[in-house]
Every structure is written in structure tokens, then in C-alpha cells.
């Protein structure tokens, strides 16, 4: 449909950090990754304006605002009831045709592959969004109808009980809620996992910690398996710690249709290390590039496609700053080289630097 005015979407590769306001954190971060030359599955982003058009078009505002006002964040039953009511209303409301057409058109431009549909929340700290339950992901979605449905499901997650509670706690400080969505070609992952570009325990930035398991990333992210665990030096590429565990389950695409299914890992693969040295090298290289691009340690979700060969079969699905407590570990107090030197010799309070180093 050439000539259609596209207001609600953008190709992921065109997004940058500055687009977070209009497309949410995840989509804009994926755009940044692509710009940095990181292999990211192709896709497009649906803007927060699409969400607003949906809410306005369906006349949901008059229903949502009173339901939310005066809601006590600790009242679990009340929050649950409001969440249910709003969710029902959103699910039965139509998606504006302008939005629907654009999503379908962009999906067609992508080649109509199976896709992952992920919510892309507003807010600077996407960790908080996770905490607030605003990070829904729908895997292995087929067809324009399916994609539109998944987009709406992402919007609904804005009113999940944790999201409501979170915003209610913030009170007047909570921004008007809106949600972007990222739609990406699905990677049929043979192996997937997460990678911290620092040691999450010690905070050491010269280390990379990798968790990996068979199949789609759900098993690792959801904590359903004890993944293989590698700690690798960025500087020497030496694997300083390697724990291979029995990986009982994996997620694979449902052969019969949409979604992913959980199945037992065949016994002959269960105890095998799911990453070889070569794959680790490729991961580390990509991790370092991401980290350099963003200028801080990153928490990266990745997958290695079943078809294809490394390095081109490695895809990065998401990257966000590491914000765990350990990564915020107490940095040594900033001190001049001379004062540190003096401290070695038991000089605690350094006066004026007599001659400099």
C-alpha cells in the first residue's frame, strides 16, 4: 500500500535513544543497537501515539480515569478488580483502522515471518518497567491479525495488577501511562540466554558472565532451568569459571501454530555444554561492542539461531544497563594517585601534595 501515511510506526533501525519518548525504552534501545552495528532481528516499532489513538478512539478514558482514582495500592482485591475491568474493556475495544493498517503494512514489509511482539514501556529505567510488569512478550506470533492482537495484549499489560500498583504508589508523580510495542522477526533459537558485561557478583567490569540454555530464552529468563554458567575475562578471553548444568527443559516454536511450547530436553543433550569456546568469543565480542556503545555495563539477552553459522547466527534481542545491587557496588572512593600512595604507607589524611607524582 504505497502512499499510506505512516504515523504510528517506524522501522527499528531508524530509532535512536531520543525516540524513547515516542516509542518506549525497548524499541529505541533496539534502534541504538542496530545503529551500533549489533545484529538485531529486523522489525518495526509501534509508537505510544498508537496506544493513545486506541484509547481515545474506543472512548476508554472516561472509564479508566475514575477506576484508577483513589485506588489504594495495597488493596490487592481492588487492584485486581480494576485490572480485570480495564483489561476486558481494552480487549473488546477495536484497534483504529489507521493503526491496524499500518501494523499490517509494516508486517508485510518485514515479509510476514513469525514474530516476537514485546511491550516497550515509557520510563528511563526499563528495570522499573520490568518490576512493574510492563514487559510482556508474545513469541512466535503469526499473521497480521495475530500481530495486532499481540500489540493490544501489550497495551493491556499497562493495566496489569503490578503495573497499577506501581503507578498508584508513585501517586501524582506517575506520568500518564502509555506503551510502545516492538515487533521483531523471531529467532528460532538453538541456544539462548543472558550476558552481563561485568561480573554481576563482584561488579568487575573486566569480566563477562554468560548464562545459556537450550531453546528460546524463556527458560533462562523465567528461571525454569539452571543454565550453563560461564565467567570469562574480556581481556584475555580466558574462561575463569565454567559450570555446566543439567538443563531439563527448553522452549521451542509450536509446530502446530502460534506460540512456544515447553518440552523436556532429550537426555543426550541435557548435560552437554550448550556453548563452545567459539560461541563464547563471538558473544564477548558483541557484548563489548554493546557496552562501548552505551558506555556502561549491559545486561544482554541473546539467541543463536538454529539455522546458520556463527557469527551471523547470533542475535541480540535486548540490552539494558546493569542495575543490580552488585553492579552498583561501592566504588573505591575517588582519590588522587598520590593520596593512595601515601595511604599504602599509613598516611591517612593527605595534606597538600608536596611535589606531585
Amino acid at each position: 500500500m504505497p502512499g499510506t501515511v505512516k504515523n504510528y510506526g517506524r522501522v527499528l533501525a531508524d530509532l535512536r535513544a531520543a525516540d524513547a519518548e515516542s516509542f518506549g525504552g525497548k524499541s529505541s534501545a533496539l534502534g541504538e543497537l542496530i545503529a551500533a552495528g549489533i545484529p538485531v532481528p529486523p522489525g518495526f516499532a509501534v509508537s505510544t501515539a498508537a496506544y493513545r489513538a486506541f484509547v481515545a478512539g474506543a472512548g476508554l478514558d472516561p472509564m479508566i480515569a475514575p477506576a484508577m482514582s483513589g485506588l489504594a495500592p495495597d488493596d490487592v482485591d481492588a487492584v485486581g478488580a480494576v485490572s480485570h475491568r480495564i483489561g476486558e474493556a481494552m480487549r473488546s475495544a477495536p484497534i483504529p483502522s489507521s493503526v491496524r493498517d499500518e501494523v499490517a503494512e509494516r508486517y508485510a514489509e518485514l515479509g510476514e515471518p513469525p514474530v516476537a511482539v514485546r511491550s516497550s514501556a515509557l520510563g528511563e529505567d526499563s528495570r522499573e518497567a520490568t518490576f512493574a510488569g510492563q514487559q510482556e512478550t508474545y513469541l512466535w506470533v503469526h499473521g497480521a491479525e495475530g500481530v495486532c492482537g499481540a500489540v493490544r495484549d501489550c497495551w493491556v499489560s499497562l493495566y496489569s495488577p503490578p503495573a497499577i500498583t506501581y503507578r498508584a504508589r508513585l501517586g501524582a508523580g506517575a506520568a500518564e501511562p502509555a506503551m510502545g510495542v516492538a515487533v521483531q522477526a523471531m529467532v528460532d533459537a538453538e541456544v539462548s540466554g543472558v550476558m552481563f558485561t561485568c561480573n554481576p557478583v563482584s561488579g568487575d567490569p573486566s569480566m563477562v558472565a554468560i548464562n545459556a540454555s537450550w531453546g528460546l530464552g524463556l527458560a533462562v529468563v523465567g528461571g525454569e532451568v539452571t543454565p550453563d554458567d560461564f565467567l570469562v575475562s574480556k581481556v584475555t578471553r580466558e574462561v575463569v569459571r565454567r559450570h555446566v548444568h543439567a538443563k531439563e527443559v527448553e522452549y521451542v516454536p509450536d509446530a502446530g501454530g502460534g506460540g512456544a511450547v515447553r518440552r523436556e530436553v532429550p537426555s543426550e543433550r541435557r548435560d552437554l555444554a550448550c556453548l563452545e569456546a567459539g560461541a563464547i568469543d563471538v558473544l564477548i565480542e558483541v557484548g563489548r561492542r554493546i557496552e562501548r556503545h552505551f558506555g556502561s555495563p549491559q545486561d544482554v539477552e541473546w539467541a543463536i539461531a538454529r539455522d546458520g553459522e556463527l557469527p551471523s547466527s547470533l542475535f541480540v534481542l535486548q540490552s539494558r544497563p546493569v542495575t543490580t545491587a552488585s553492579a552498583r557496588r561501592e566504588q573505591p572512593e575517588p582519590a588522587s594517585a598520590m593520596s593512595l600512595l601515601m595511604r599504602t604507607f599509613g598516611v591517612e589524611a593527605v595534606g597538600s601534595d608536596p611535589e606531585g607524582v
Binding site: D204, K234, P334, T344, F345, G346
Partner: protein
């Protein structure tokens, strides 16, 4: 800051303790060992109250063997030097100098802490100004040091030990320009001792500041990069083309020359230096090679065969079997087509790459500190790496030989049976014997010395031999709460954790822990080497277990699978060489030579810092 590490109040029972220094028994047949040592070096009852409440550790790094009486010079004088610089010149705030005591011939040391906060503050003022000057002018001061040390070595080399002829030479009368021999002998002896003191003064000048700068960098790295291996810190700092590697580099060059000039057949496995020299002397090319060797000898054969502080450790000049063994090995390797070059360019690239990579991981502020401290560490490092060659090896091996000449003089006049026996007397006793010698030479009277000294020497040799079989505990006295004396931490690697491990490992068997100094895992039979005299026993594939190694041991590292030492940190010689050879090393285990026997199978994990005895 707490500096109460040396003296501890209150009950010590729950902290555990090391043996009481006043309750150590004398091994049978060693009664009277005390007379070999100065009165002030003993655990004296009059000092018991304080001495038994202190923490003492066996300085096996410098004194792995029972001390001969003369060699006590190499305790007193270095501790004069270190103490003076640390306590009286730089006034390191929390720590003065090092006390030592002798038990059954073994040397235990303990630091003197400064505990008064006002005194610490006062010293901090001195330290900042004085050490600051040294750090700011390091290169200039080190250049001056090199000049002073060269002059000192030259003076020692030129110092003549006079003989005592029947008649003074004519010149005394007709030129009227010289002193008499009795004076010259006493003067030469006292000058020799003073030169020894001068060497220890120079030796200690930069010691603490140099190691301190390195330690600061190392701590900085571990603060910002908690998982950084010690060996990477060391690699970023260590020099590439330093004197430490020069003697072996010269031997490699000579090996190539032997092949290039067709005289390599002389270097057959199993030949002695004398046999090799004899064959070389028969051909023109061989003589040319020998002439080249003479060039190399000065100064590169001034390596000690051991870690310098005992009179037994001569230089390669005194005993060329180590460099010749190395030559034989290099020639064989070259003929087998191996590359024996030290990959200096690759090492330099790796050193710069590590520094760049680690630096790039830090934020701007931290990176600035990292680079300043790295630059400072690299500035001080030539001293750290080179002072041993000039002082401990070159000077000290010649100095012992000078003392041997006095021994020869005494032996010539019957005061000793052999020149070597001079080391069984203290430096003061030697002075006394020389006093009597010149007196009776002058007067023509009958000396009693020839009857007095030989039985003493015989008895002391027996005692030393027996004491060598005694195993000293790694520490005596109380277990300190904390060790924070900069000198003990920097020079001996004695930290709070290490001391607590010693206290615990008194009961544990089968596993020792130390500093992970060079990564990798190796298994093999142990070869326990307590003195340099035993290094020729080492066989291919063994794991070297020793108190400490020195650069002169370099040739054996191509034979061994791994190294384990009692004492030493990540910058110790064994650690540096093992990293170069890619061998696992665990250093500073405290008691490996006491717990491991030759032939036991070991597993050495140089990444974890553990040594497991697999077979008892």
C-alpha cells in the same frame, strides 16, 4: 588506623598461637648454639615479657638455613639499612624497623609498630615531604644511585687484602710513603665491613618506596577490577628488557655463536665446564668463542647461584656449572630447531594491550588514577628488578670472596685450617683473630690463635649440620589480629590472612595454600630443594618445591612442571619466571619445604593458589 599488630593485650588463647619462643628445645648435640650469635639476637629472659607477646615469623625468604656466625652480618646490616631509611629518613608513619631473633640458628623477625597517634601524625608530615621528593625525582635519584653503586663495586673490587711478609718492603723506608702492614690489614678489614654496610645502605634506599608504589597500583586495580589476576597487574608493570633477563640472553647469544662458528660439539650433555673449555681451547674458533665468553663474564657472570645472603652462594664466575648447563641446553634446543628467543616484542605488546584494555574498562576518574599509578609503578620498577643484580649478586658474591681472602690470611698463619672456616667466626671474632695475628706478626711472639680457633670452628660446623635437620615453625609467639606493617606486607607478603592460614595449617595435612602466582594446573613428583647446592638433582617433569628461587636458577625452569615456594609474592622471582615459561606457580605457602617430601606426587593449581599432596 590500628597499628596494634605487634603487641597484643588480653588473653590470646582463643586466637590460637604459635609456639612460645622461650619454649623451643635445642636439638640434641646442638647445645651452645647461642655462642655463634650476638647477645642481642637471642630470646633473652630479661626481655621475655615483651618478646613472648609478639608475633615472630621465620624469615625463610632470606635465611632458609641455619646462620653461620659470620653471615649474621647480612642480618644486622640490611636491617640497619631498611630500618634507617624507613624509620629515620622517610619516617613511615605506622612502622619503624624490623627486629630479629635467632632460635636454633634460624632467624625470626617482627616489626616495630608506632602506636601513638600523635607520633604517627608527626611522622606523616616527614614522610609526605621526604617520600614525595623521592617519588617526584625518582629517575634522577635512581641514576645517582647507579653511579654510587658502580663506585662501591669498583672500590670493593680494587680493595687489596695485604699479606704479612717477613720484612716490610723497601718503599716504607726509601719512599717513606706508606703505612705498615699491621695497619693495612686492620684497615682493609674494617673497610671491607664498611663497604658491606654501604651496600646495604644503598640496597635499602628505594626498597620500600618502590615496592609501595607497586602495591598501591596493585590495590587500586583490585579495588576497581575485583577479579583481575595478580599476574596481570604484574605483567602491566614488569619491564621487558631488564637486567634480570640479560645474563640468560647473553648465554643464548653465546649458544648461537657456538653453532655459527661450528664449535657446538663441545657442548655435549653431561660435560663439565672444564672439559668444555679444554675442547674449545684446541681450535681457533673455540678460542674466539672463549674470548667472547670473557667479554660476557664482566658483568653478566656476576649472578649469584643462590639468593645472595649466605656466603655459600658464589657467582657464576666462582661456579660456572649453572651457566654451562644452560649453554648445553640452549645449544641442544637450537640444534633441535627450537626457538629459544625470549619473545620480547610479543611480551611488550601484551603488556601494553593489558594496560590499554584494563584502562579502557574504567571510568574517566578511575582511569586517570590507573594511569598515574601505572606510570609510577613502571618508573620505580627498574630499581625493584635491578637492585638485586647490583647488590645481592654482583657486590655480595665479591664481598664474600674478599672475606675469604682474610680467611686465607688467617689460614696461612695457622689460625684456621681452611680459608672457608672464616665464616664460622663472627665478624667481631675475625677482627679479634686479625688483631692477634698482626700483633704476633709485629712482635714475633707466639700466637695462641692457632690453638684457640680451629676447635671452635669444628664444633660450630657440627652444630650447623645438626641444626639444618631441624624444621623451624613458620612463626612464633602470638597470632596477630592484623598485619599492617608496610614492610612486612610488601617485602615478605606476610598478611593477616597468610598468618592466619599458617596458624590453621599447623593442623591440616595434604593441602597447602599460597598466592596464585602463575596460572595453570600441573601434577608431578615433588623435588624439595632447600639449598642451591641441590638444584642439580632436579629431573625433567618434577615440581620444584623450594624456599625461594633466584634468577640464577633460570636454567632449571625449562625442566620443571611447576614451582611451589615457601615465601614470596606475585612479584617474586619464581612467579615472574613461571609466568614467562607458562608454568603454574604457587608462592608464599609458608611451609611447603617442611610439609612436602621429595618424590610425593603433587597437584599444583596456580590459578587457585593451592598445592595438594596426592600421595603421602
Amino acid at each position: 588506623m590500628s597499628v596494634e599488630w605487634a603487641r597484643i593485650d588480653g588473653p590470646v588463647a582463643d586466637r590460637g598461637s604459635f609456639p612460645n619462643p622461650y619454649e623451643i628445645e635445642t636439638p640434641p648435640g646442638c647445645e651452645g648454639w647461642e655462642e655463634m650469635y650476638p647477645y642481642y639476637a637471642l630470646f633473652d629472659e630479661r626481655r621475655r615479657e615483651s618478646d613472648e607477646q609478639r608475633f615472630w615469623f621465620w624469615n625463610s625468604m632470606h635465611f632458609p638455613l641455619p646462620m653461620p656466625a659470620f653471615d649474621v652480618f647480612c642480618i644486622d646490616s640490611p636491617y640497619d639499612g631498611i630500618g634507617s631509611w624507613q624509620n629515620r629518613v622517610f619516617a613511615v608513619p605506622p612502622a619503624m624497623g624490623i627486629d630479629y631473633r635467632c632460635v636454633n640458628g634460624y632467624i625470626y623477625i617482627s616489626g616495630n609498630a608506632v602506636t601513638d597517634p600523635e607520633k604517627i601524625a608527626e611522622r606523616a608530615g616527614y614522610f609526605q615531604e621526604r617520600a614525595g621528593h623521592y617519588f617526584a625525582n625518582w629517575n634522577e635519584l635512581y641514576a645517582k644511585w647507579r653511579v654510587k653503586v658502580d663506585a662501591m663495586i669498583r672500590e670493593l673490587t680494587e680493595l687489596e687484602v695485604p699479606d704479612l711478609p717477613e720484612y716490610e718492603p723497601r718503599e716504607v723506608v726509601f719512599e717513606n710513603d706508606r703505612n705498615l702492614r699491621f695497619y693495612d690489614v686492620l684497615d682493609a678489614y674494617s673497610r671491607t665491613l664498611r663497604l658491606g654496610d654501604l651496600m646495604w645502605q644503598h640496597h635499602s634506599e628505594f626498597l620500600l618506596l618502590g615496592y609501595g608504589a607497586y602495591m598501591t597500583f596493585s590495590e587500586f586495580c583490585k579495588g576497581h577490577l575485583p577479579d583481575i589476576p595478580d599476574q596481570h597487574v604484574a605483567q602491566m608493570v614488569a619491564g621487558i628488557d631488564v637486567i634480570l633477563w640479560k645474563p640468560d640472553a647473553e648465554l643464548r647469544r653465546l649458544a648461537r655463536l657456538a653453532i655459527d662458528t661450528g664449535v657446538d660439539a663441545a657442548f655435549a650433555e653431561g660435560r663439565t665446564p672444564t672439559e668444555i673449555d679444554a675442547e674449545l681451547a684446541e681450535s681457533e674458533a673455540g678460542r674466539a668463542w672463549l674470548a667472547e665468553l670473557e667479554e660476557v663474564k664482566d658483568p653478566w657472570f656476576n649472578m649469584a647461584t643462590g639468593d645472595g645472603l649466605y656466603h655459600y652462594y658464589g657467582s657464576w664466575l666462582d661456579d660456572p656449572s649453572i651457566p654451562y648447563a644452560s649453554l648445553i641446553g640452549h645449544v641442544a634446543a637450537l640444534k633441535a630447531g627450537e626457538d629459544i628467543e625470549r619473545p620480547t616484542e610479543q611480551l611488550a605488546r601484551e603488556r601494553d594491550r593489558l594496560a590499554e584494555e584494563y584502562g579502557s574498562l574504567l571510568d574517566a576518574d578511575a582511569r586517570k588514577g590507573f594511569e598515574e599509578l601505572l606510570a609510577l609503578s613502571r618508573t620505580v620498577f627498574p630499581y625493584v628488578e635491578e637492585h638485586k643484580f647490583f647488590c645481592d649478586y654482583w657486590f655480595l658474591t665479591r664481598w664474600w670472596n674478599k672475606i675469604r681472602e682474610f680467611g686465607a690470611l688467617l689460614a696461612e698463619h695457622g689460625f684456621l685450617e681452611d680459608a672457608e672456616d672464616v665464616f664460622q667466626l663472627s665478624r667481631h671474632e675475625v677482627n679479634g683473630a686479625l688483631d692477634e695475628l698482626v700483633l704476633t706478626w709485629s712482635t714475633g711472639g707466639e700466637p695462641i690463635g692457632p690453638k684457640h680457633w680451629p676447635p671452635i670452628v669444628t664444633r660450630r660446623k657440627e652444630i650447623l649440620e645438626r641444626l639444618a635437620d631441624w624444621t623451624p615453625p613458620p612463626a612464633l609467639g602470638v597470632v596477630p589480629d592484623e598485619v599492617n606493617d608496610p614492610a612486612l606486607v610488601m617485602l615478605w607478603g606476610v598478611t593477616t590472612e597468610r598468618v592466619q592460614e599458617w596458624a590453621r595449617s599447623a593442623e591440616t595435612d595434604g593441602e597447602l595454600t599460597g598466592t596464585a602466582a602463575s596460572p595453570g594446573v600441573a601434577e608431578g613428583p615433588a623435588r624439595v630443594v632447600k639449598t642451591v647446592m641441590e638444584i642439580s638433582d632436579i629431573r625433567e617433569g618434577e615440581i620444584l618445591v623450594c624456599t625461594i628461587t633466584s634468577p640464577a636458577w633460570a636454567p632449571i625452569f625449562s625442566k620443571i612442571e611447576a614451582a611451589v615456594t615457601d615465601i614470596g609474592g606475585v612479584m617474586s622471582h619464581a612467579a615472574i619466571v613461571c609466568r614467562e615459561y607458562g608454568l603454574p606457580a604457587v608462592v608464599g605457602t609458608g611451609r611447603a619445604t617442611a610439609q612436602i617430601r621429595t618424590g610425593q606426587r603433587l597437584r599444583v593449581d596456580g590459578s587457585a593458589g593451592t598445592v595438594t599432596i596426592l600421595e603421602r
